[in-house]
């Protein structure tokens, strides 16, 4: 039962073949059994989860109308605020922080009657591509426990892959949903910038951050996307336009379908086994009648550099709030106020967060702002325009999500730049604000999952889900589960 999709579980619940309490118990039991090895969860509040499940059961018995996720467990990345629950961002800085309010997406999940299962591990403040930057634990890839799950939403991706939860929420600033989804063999989707409210999402880079769903398949991702998407006046960058209802339309093919393959995505640096799986996926679409066109993103090679200036500049500003005064870690010893700031931040932040605050501060500092930050904003415009031109020729762009399959734990620890290049194919979507999804499209010879990334024009999530589902109906990669869980 644990290996089922959220839609299947939702049907069982609706037909009263299982209670929400029994289902929640089963996933809590799976977490107790498997998570000592996977280490996807930072915190599980069993009592709170069971109470939500019992409340859904009671209301179902009374014949009340229930929400779209009634009784279905959802795991939450540890940077989305749930009132009274920990929200550490996997940082010592926020080790004891308990948010006084629910994020918008949590309010929406409560309205949908979902069961909040627990908090998932991540790279500290979402900065990283392997979840190794967590201050608390190293999450392992359920397909190979010696390897990283990707990141920064590695806990959410690994929890779904290990069938410790059917659904999870993550956040994606430069690929932090799509890349771990690819490396863990699950579906992960980043909505258009502005589609999902960031109210209650602890900020990393505000012009790039988006919350999005993880699930076993495209249909489940659409179900969770629908539950959290939509306008919220508390986030001034939340767009005031109706969100599509993707769960009703994902089975309708797009006809005719034109798909763009990016010339620059098959350059040096792409693993040959990843390339083989992605090229085969392109042939699957061709057999299904899609027209494949070659498109060019001439500024793609500047995306990583642009991102690491824009994202770190925004982070240096956002993370200035952690000063040891209002909440978060405060150093025990200090001579004066400034010294208290410096020590609290020096003790509370890990090495990667410090590096990014430093780079961002440098890029914004007097004498360097025009050469770095402003220059990056201009190149960002050119990257955005490249995508806009490409979508004039095709319905979606497809290619690899990550240049390599999951690498070994510790392998890239001493080379921040090598780690940054893990996001080379995903970062452009955040800079341009477009939606993207990663879906399973094969395995390497050693049994590691490979992800196919699909990107669409801004606010075309509905089309994106339909195109992804076309591939999913023709293949069975999304039905595979790691040996570890069986």
């Amino acid at each position: 039962m644990l290996e089922r999709t959220a839609r299947e579980l939702s049907d069982l619940l609706a037909r009263c073949e299982i209670s929400a309490e029994t289902l929640t118990q089963a996933f809590l039991q799976a977490i107790r059994q498997r998570d000592p090895q996977v280490r996807a969860f930072l915190h599980v509040d069993e009592d709170a989860a069971l109470e939500q499940a019992r409340s859904v059961d009671a209301r179902r018995r009374r014949g009340e109308s229930l929400g779209s996720l009634a009784g279905v467990p959802v795991a939450i990345k540890d940077l989305i605020c749930v009132r009274g629950q920990p929200a550490t961002c996997a940082s010592k800085m926020l080790q004891t922080f308990r948010p006084p309010y629910d994020a918008h997406v949590i309010e929406r999940l409560r309205q949908a009657d979902a069961v909040l299962l627990g908090r998932t591990n991540m790279d500290e403040f979402a900065m990283g591509s392997s979840t190794e930057n967590s201050a608390f634990q190293t999450t392992r890839n359920p397909w190979d426990l010696e390897r990283i799950p990707g990141g920064s939403s590695g806990g959410s991706a690994a929890a779904v892959a290990a069938c410790e939860t059917p659904l999870a929420l993550g956040s994606d600033t430069g690929g932090s949903i799509r890349q771990p989804a690819a490396l863990c063999g699950v579906v992960g989707m980043k909505p258009s910038y502005g589609r999902v409210s960031r109210y209650g999402l602890i900020a990393f880079a505000s012009s790039l951050d988006q919350i999005g769903p993880f699930g076993h398949d495209v249909a489940d991702a659409a179900l969770l996307f629908d539950a959290v998407a939509g306008h919220d006046p508390r986030d001034s960058t939340s767009v005031n336009r109706p969100a599509p209802i993707c769960r009703q339309t994902f089975d309708r093919d797009i006809e005719p379908l034109a798909l763009g393959v990016v010339r620059e995505h098959f350059d040096a640096g792409l693993d040959s086994e990843v390339e083989r799986a992605v090229r085969e996926a392109i042939r699957v679409y061709e057999r299904l009648g899609a027209k494949i066109v070659e498109v060019s993103l001439p500024h793609a090679k500047y995306a990583v550099a642009t991102y690491y200036l824009v994202a770190t500049a925004e982070a240096s500003s956002n993370l200035a709030r952690y000063d040891g005064v209002h909440f978060g870690h405060r150093s025990r010893e200090h001579s004066d106020l400034i010294d208290m700031y410096c020590r609290s931040r020096g003790e509370g932040f890990g090495p990667e967060v410090k590096r990014r605050i430093m780079l961002g501060t440098h890029a914004l500092s007097s004498g360097y702002k025009d050469a770095y930050y402003l220059k990056a904003l201009k190149v960002r415009r050119l990257i955005h325009d490249d995508y806009a031109r490409a979508f004039g020729q095709c319905d979606a762009i497809l290619g690899p999500t990550s240049p390599t399959p999951a690498f070994k734990i510790g392998e890239r620890g001493n080379d921040p730049l090598a780690m940054y290049l893990a996001d080379i194919y995903t970062i452009g979507a955040n800079l341009a604000g477009i939606p993207g999804i990663s879906i399973p499209c094969g395995f390497t010879r050693s049994g590691l999952p490979v992800g196919l990334q699909l990107l669409a024009a801004p606010f075309e999530e509905e089309k994106l889900f339909r195109i992804a589902r076309t591939f999913e109906r023709a293949t069975d990669w999304h039905t595979r589960r790691p040996r570890f869980v069986s």
Binding site: T96, F97, R98, P100, Y101, Y193, G194, S206, S207, P233, T237, V239, Y302, V304, A305, T306, Y308, L309, A320, G324, V325, H326, F327, G328, R330, D336, L337, I338, M340, Y341, C342, R345, G346, E347, P351, K354, R355, I357, M358, L359, T361, H362, S365, Y372, K375, A376, L377, K378, V379, R380, R381, L382, H384, P416, L417, L431, A432, G433, I434, P458
Partner: protein, 93 residues
């Protein structure tokens, strides 16, 4: 970047670095700055900077009163409090 420049940026960022931390940071930041310098190749003459992906700006709400966070909730995470206030080291001599 040299160690002196890195120390200056750490001061701006209110970030205490240990001596070995400063050394590692100088080496790693220099490599990253060398990498991002490739943006200099790009011709950006007459290109409008793009701050974020949405074209709108200045979203206002009605200026009406609404409930705010109770004081006890707002102070619940304070590292140090004095009554209904945050406690901090003396700012004035």
């Amino acid at each position: 970047m040299n160690a002196q420049e890195v120390q200056w940026v750490a001061h701006l960022a209110r970030l205490q670095l240990t001596p070995t931390g400063l050394e590692t940071m100088t080496r790693q930041l220099s490599a990253i700055v060398d990498y991002v310098d490739r943006l200099k190749e790009v011709n950006t003459e007459d290109v409008e900077p793009m701050g974020h992906a949405l074209s709108f700006s200045n979203v206002f709400r009605d200026d009406g009163p609404a409930a705010s966070l109770p004081v006890a909730d707002a102070l619940a995470n304070a590292p140090q409090r004095r009554g209904d206030f945050y406690g901090v080291p003396a700012v004035l001599e």
